[in-house]
């Protein structure tokens, strides 16, 4: 039986992190795992800081907020600076180097990828950065099945956007295969 696996997805409002959190949580449900997903955001729907926490477990999850992350995804410098020190020693750090330029701490498992630049280059828009980086995270950590993520995306975004998001997902998977050790 695995203990709680705590993931924090962080960045700024409008980057789609809460949706990414919901998609990850839904994929965990497809895997028949226990899951909680919470979020924190300012009153504004764009800008400001935003984060989504997903806790995945095989036992009952009591406290739903991630406090000691097994994995941190940071899409902005601010988010990275704010949450980096709550990452476990063995935790996985994934940062978007398009926006995160300075790392205050060298974690052991750090992945530095220019997600936003890649999304713009390969998909013509930064809009799917959330899915691209989430897929990267899933492939690196193996926390949910890749097929479950694919199904969860299809169930969570508007029908017109399933294809582009699946494409972003595949780019994320491919990148992870390249970066992965």
């Amino acid at each position: 039986m695995m203990k709680n696996y705590e993931i924090r997805l962080s960045g700024s409002g409008g980057q789609g992190l809460i949706l990414a959190g919901i998609i990850l949580a839904r994929a965990a449900v497809i895997d028949k795992r226990r899951v909680t997903q919470t979020q924190s955001y300012g009153p504004e729907s764009r800008g400001g800081s935003s984060r989504a926490d997903v806790i995945i477990s095989d036992q009952e999850i009591y406290f739903p907020e991630a406090t000691n992350f097994d994995c941190l995804l940071a899409l902005t410098q601010e988010a990275c600076d704010k949450y980096l020190f709550d990452l476990r020693d063995t935790g996985v750090l994934i940062i978007d180097t398009t926006y995160v330029k300075n790392l205050a701490l060298a974690a052991e498992n750090t992945y530095e990828v220019p997600f936003t630049d890649i999304a713009i280059e390969k998909l013509g828009s930064p809009i799917s950065t959330n899915i691209l980086s989430l897929a990267f995270l899933v492939k690196i950590t193996g926390i949910v099945k890749e097929a479950s993520l694919k199904q969860s995306i299809a169930e969570s975004v508007k029908p017109a956007f399933v294809e582009i998001n699946h494409k972003a997902m595949q780019i994320g998977f491919d990148l992870a295969a390249k970066y992965g050790k």
């Binding site: 226990r34 924190s40 508007k158």
Partner: protein, 408 residues
């Protein structure tokens, strides 16, 4: 004459592109598989399963999802969804609808809950069933609309002027949001009063995997209808532990309803005996039925020497703290009220007898702990550890554990 306002408007239901997705998603959740669901969604589905067929509300963060889902669902099943001009109108409309026979609910948050207080008092004095869901946010005033607090616990008890009964339920999980919404509607119908469901902001927005029970396993209670002929009907009859039948408007029982102090027929009165009778009736309705109303979860309390008393999301942190402490060999338990009003006096008294230390963590400046202090005052040897916070952040399990150890 203003031509613009008098021109007939035609409304077309051309579903927006996103609508089918949402409808399909909702449909899937109705199929009672294991699905990811938000606390506010669970409230909406609980309301529907309990037979709620009338919602009037005003949008407010962080409760709005409840209104949005019911706006999609109620018209499909012949129920009414109406967005009113403010929260005062919302509580008024659900009370009116209830008197016409509806199972009616509204949902709001801090500022809206404050506006509703007068109408809540009206529903209580007129003994009209209805449910108010308050997804609490940080106050006072506009406060922090998207952040979590438990600052309305005492307001839910005493918010409306005058002495009045209060039934207030407090879930701690998405599944319990569903269950306690059904219970809130059931209790409102049974006790003919306004029942309040308090949610924490985090719970309203939190998602968990839940499976809704089959409808066959959902127990639904509806108000008792009178069987006597209209001229024998007393709107406030005092039989059956004050749980008296309720006729709806349009059923031939032409009774009067007033917010003034009234007699058993519902007519205004200034007579001291009748006024006293009415007040006693409101009080006894709760005190005579306290066992039916109070629900409490007792977690690892059997051998506990330390008890944590907490509700809602804070109780979840407390449960984690209990597990952590138990691993260190500290005998800690958790007592969690699912009904915060009427307050579970008996269970708390027992807890105070059994343990040496009580820890009360809460996201306010001391609203639950007041009640513990009310019951503890003759036991000066009991240690009380208070953990209080109002800054939009949650109290974490490690924090409870640390403060508990410090105070031991």
């Amino acid at each position: 004459m203003n031509k613009k306002t008098t021109k007939a408007k035609t409304t077309k239901i051309e579903p927006a592109e996103k609508q089918p997705t949402k409808l399909e998603e909702l449909q899937e959740k109705r199929e009672r598989k294991m699905v990811l669901m938000q606390g506010n969604e669970a409230v909406a589905f609980g309301a529907l399963d309990a037979g709620c067929n009338f919602f009037a509300g005003y949008p407010i963060t962080p409760s709005t999802e409840i209104a949005e889902i019911l706006a999609l669902e109620l018209p499909k099943r012949g129920g009414v969804f109406v967005q009113m001009e403010d929260e005062i109108a919302s509580i008024s409309a659900i009370t009116g609808a209830s008197l016409a026979g509806a199972k009616a609910l509204t949902a709001t948050s801090g500022p809206g809950f404050s506006l509703m207080q007068e109408g809540i008092g009206y529903a209580k004095i007129t003994e009209t069933p209805c449910v108010v869901v308050n997804v609490q946010r940080v106050g006072p005033s506009t406060g922090m609309p998207t952040s979590c607090a438990q600052g309305d616990m005492q307001q839910a008890r005493w918010g409306s002027h005058g002495d009045s009964p209060a039934i207030v339920l407090y879930p701690d999980s998405v599944k319990e949001c569903y269950e306690l919404t059904i219970r809130a509607i059931n209790l409102s119908e049974k006790y003919r009063t306004c029942v309040i469901l308090l949610l924490d902001e985090v719970l309203g927005h939190m998602r968990e995997a839940v499976r809704l029970p089959d409808m066959a396993n959902v127990r639904v209670i509806s108000r008792i209808k009178p069987t006597v002929p209209p001229h024998w009907y007393k709107h406030y009859d005092e039989n059956q532990k004050y749980l008296s039948p309720l006729a709806s408007f349009g059923e031939g029982y032409r009774y009067n309803v007033t917010g003034l102090t009234h007699d058993q027929l519902g007519f205004p009165t200034n007579k001291a005996t009748e006024a006293a009778d009415m007040m006693e009736r409101l009080r006894k309705k709760i005190t005579y039925n306290i066992r039916d109303l109070v629900q409490i979860e007792s977690y690892k309390m059997e051998d506990a020497k330390i008890a944590i008393f907490a509700a809602g999301i804070v109780a979840r942190a407390a449960k984690a703290a209990v597990s952590m402490a138990r691993q260190e060999g500290i005998p800690v338990g958790l007592l969690r009220p699912l009904t915060i009003w009427p307050f579970p006096d008996d269970a708390v008294r027992k807890m105070l007898r059994d343990v040496d230390v009580v820890v009360v963590p809460e996201l306010n400046q001391g609203q639950l702990v007041r009640e513990i202090q009310r019951l503890v005052k003759d036991r000066s040897d009991s240690k009380l550890i208070k953990i209080q916070r109002v800054n939009g952040k949650l109290i974490s399990p490690t924090e409870i554990l640390r403060k508990m150890k410090e105070g031991m």
